[in-house]
């Protein structure tokens, strides 16, 4: 029974207020003001009307755990994103935004490591060229270049707009999830794996996923957020800035702000038409980012190096810009899944429509719900973290076999001699040798025989 008691102790710690008793009064005044911790109990109440969500004491514990998170980290806004179920343990996910300038310390360390890697490669190539000139027999140099790594998005933009913290149960410490890279999103779309509940579990799959469970979890969270975070039409509006459209070249706006004049849409209308709901997160492009980046733009380092190489390969380098639906697109524009509507709406209670809440449920990501009532709305996800597909999952096939090197005048592939041929050759050589040496060895034979015995 030890673990039960330990857990209970940890959760008891959640309930005690920080700070001593003498400072109680001062704290009361400070706490009553703005706090980034969201009103989880209110959200839980509305979701309960819809039949979704965790029990009320669990929700309260989550509220206390988030309060603890807010005290430990410099958080500007915070939201309970949802719960992802796993095989051995589940994850509670909190979506936060740090205060300005706070999170850059960790980010810089990660960037330095990757930049260091690139510099190393550059040196490697230079040395390689020098060596080649010296060697007589030049090994053909491989012309294969790895596809350019698409840079991940900056913090606070696109898929990395928010930071995510996870914990397994309220009372346990929160762990921060790393930012997501486009490669991880692209790979996450190709695999389907259950989460085990332990962040450092490797993800064994084909195509190989670049990262462990923490990265896979972050990628799935990014996909779910991009696909299912919705709000009633009019709650958010684009912030008005002049000259925006020209600069961005029609790539779409990526920022929005709350509309102070929003008056709420009647619940019945919200349930009737999907056009009354809009996505307020950016769609993730097939590239794995929200804003498109041309992968073929040479960085400065590459330009210094491979001028010779540039002229050599000019192949099909024109890549089309990927465009996705712009921000604040209504849900009625979402693609259907076979013959299935992507969203299902319900009134929470048919018996009392005047006090009901409008609930929207995603059919594409089972477990994603949103409610709206009056001026309030909220999104939540409670589920296994996988997309629904009417067809079974087909893992990616292995890559086609690489083509062999074409035989040309420089390189000719010859078959190795078989064992019989080799032995015949050896016998023939020995005969030739034996014929020439017989005369020399004739005198030594007697001595050779004595020593053998």
């Amino acid at each position: 029974m030890q673990p039960t008691y330990k857990m209970a102790e940890k959760q008891k710690a959640l309930f005690t207020r920080s700070g001593g008793g003498t400072e109680g009064e001062q704290e009361m005044e400070e706490e009553v003001g703005e706090t980034p911790v969201p009103n989880i109990m209110e959200t839980a109440f509305y979701f309960e009307q819809a039949g979704v969500g965790l029990s009320s004491d669990e929700s309260f514990r989550i509220f206390l755990a988030m309060k603890q998170l807010v005290e430990q980290q410099p958080i500007h806004t915070c939201r309970f994103w949802g719960k992802i179920l796993g095989i051995k343990r589940s994850y509670l996910v909190a979506e936060v935004e740090f205060r300005e300038g706070e999170e850059e310390a960790e980010e810089e360390e990660v960037e330095e490591m990757t930049e260091g890697g690139e510099v190393m490669e550059a040196h490697g190539e230079e040395e390689g060229e020098e060596d080649e000139e010296k060697a007589v027999d030049i090994v053909p140099k491989s012309v294969w270049k790895p596809p350019p790594v698409i840079p991940k998005e900056e913090s606070r933009s696109g898929a990395n707009k928010y930071l995510y913290f996870v914990c397994n149960e309220p009372g346990l410490p929160w762990t921060r999830l790393p930012h997501v890279t486009p490669a991880q999103i692209v790979n996450a779309r190709k695999i389907k794996k259950f989460f085990t509940g332990y962040l450092d579990t490797p993800v064994v799959s084909y195509p190989p996923f670049p990262g462990n469970e923490a990265n896979y979890l972050r990628a799935q969270i990014a996909r779910i957020s991009a696909a299912t975070q919705v709000s009633p039409l009019g709650f958010y509006q684009f912030s008005e800035e002049e000259g925006d459209e020209e600069e961005e070249g029609g790539a779409g706006r990526d920022s929005y702000e709350e509309n102070p004049d929003f008056e709420g849409i009647p619940v019945l209308e919200l349930v009737d038409s999907m056009a009354n709901w809009v996505h307020h997160t950016q769609h993730i492009l097939p590239q794995g980012r929200c804003t498109w980046v041309n992968p073929l733009q040479k960085t400065e380092e590459e330009e210094d190096l491979g001028e010779e190489e540039e002229k050599a390969d000019e192949g099909p380098e024109e890549v089309e810009q990927e465009v996705g639906p712009p921000l604040l697109t209504p849900l009625s524009e979402d693609a259907e899944i076979m013959h299935l509507a992507p969203w299902t709406t319900r009134l929470s209670c048919s018996l009392c429509p005047q006090y009901s809440v409008a609930v929207v449920r995603s059919n594409l990501w089972p477990g994603a719900y949103a409610y709206a009532s009056g001026k309030k709305f909220e999104n939540i996800y409670i589920g296994w973290g996988h997309k629904y597909s009417p067809e079974s999952f087909n893992p990616a096939l292995p890559a086609p076999i690489q083509q062999e090197y074409p035989s040309g005048p420089e390189i000719m592939e010859m078959s190795d001699p078989t064992v019989e041929e080799e032995q015949a050759l050896k016998a023939a050589q020995e005969q030739a040798l034996g014929a020439t040496e017989e005369e020399e060895e004739g005198e030594e034979e007697e001595e050779g025989e004595e020593t053998d015995d």
């Binding site: 819809a50 979704v52 969500g53 179920l85 149960e169 389907k192 089972p366 009417p390």
Partner: protein, 248 residues
């Protein structure tokens, strides 16, 4: 979950995120009571909720005295009026195993109730010791069942499928010698294929053990160790997770 302890059961099964809204709960409590009286069932279980495309519907099951006898299944769209689902015949079962797709929300479709029966056969669970079999045949609820201990609760072998045993006869004599015929007369979850299709977790810091089916996502079984509380509920679309082997 038992209709008698509905509220507590819903509270304990809420870890999977799906529950019932207060108006449904209230109507369930009253209507299941009436169903029990009208159909003269010994126990009424709230089986779960199927999320259909057009509408959701709620399923309940009625059990007679003999716990392992075929259960009657009832459905309702609004939790107040319940109607019997006709039992599926063998041909329907064979046909429906080929058809795929989501539930429409209208239980008069044949496909829907055969699927229901299949799901029920696959996922209804009972902890070991909750039922016992008398030599005369009928199985009864074990009133002295005090709940599994913590160590037993974490093992898959302590849970049985709540249906007529299928694999029991295939066991070797050696294995059968270890079994207690009054308690171990159903198939255990341990030998389910594919292995790993059940996720067993402790929630609330070891005060609650939750089993979730990975093959039929939406099935949650909960049990509070050392107490008599246990139950299962299915809230989902009614589709089998055919990708399970890739996902483990």
């Amino acid at each position: 979950m038992d209709a008698d302890s509905l509220l507590l059961s819903l509270e304990l099964a809420s870890g999977s995120g799906q529950g019932l809204s207060p108006d449904r709960r209230a109507s369930l409590l009253t209507s299941l009571m009436l169903v029990k009286r009208d159909y003269r069932y010994d126990r009424v279980l709230f089986w779960g909720r199927i999320l259909g495309l057009v509408a959701d519907y709620y399923i309940a099951q009625g059990l007679s005295e003999d716990q392992l006898a075929p259960r009657k299944t009832l459905y309702s769209l609004n939790c107040t009026e319940w109607s019997l689902l006709p039992p599926a015949t063998e041909e329907m079962v064979a046909q429906s195993s080929v058809v795929k797709g989501r539930f429409m929300g209208d239980p008069s479709y044949e496909y829907e109730h055969t699927e229901l029966q299949k799901i029920d056969k696959a996922v209804a669970i009972i902890p070991r010791g909750a039922l016992f079999k008398t030599p005369f045949g009928p199985t009864h609820v074990n009133r002295t069942f005090e709940g599994l201990s913590l160590s037993e609760a974490k093992k898959l072998s302590s849970y049985f499928h709540f249906r007529e045993p299928v694999e029991l006869k295939n066991k070797t004599l050696l294995e059968k010698a270890d079994l207690d015929p009054s308690l171990d007369f159903m198939d255990s979850l341990e030998h389910d294929i594919p292995k790993g299709s059940w996720s067993i977790q402790m929630e609330r810091g070891n005060a609650l053990v939750v089993l979730r089916s990975l093959l039929w996502p939406g099935l949650t079984f909960y049990h509070a160790p050392r107490t008599k509380n246990y139950g299962y509920v299915y809230v989902g679309t009614g589709e089998k997770n055919m990708d399970l082997p890739f996902m483990l």
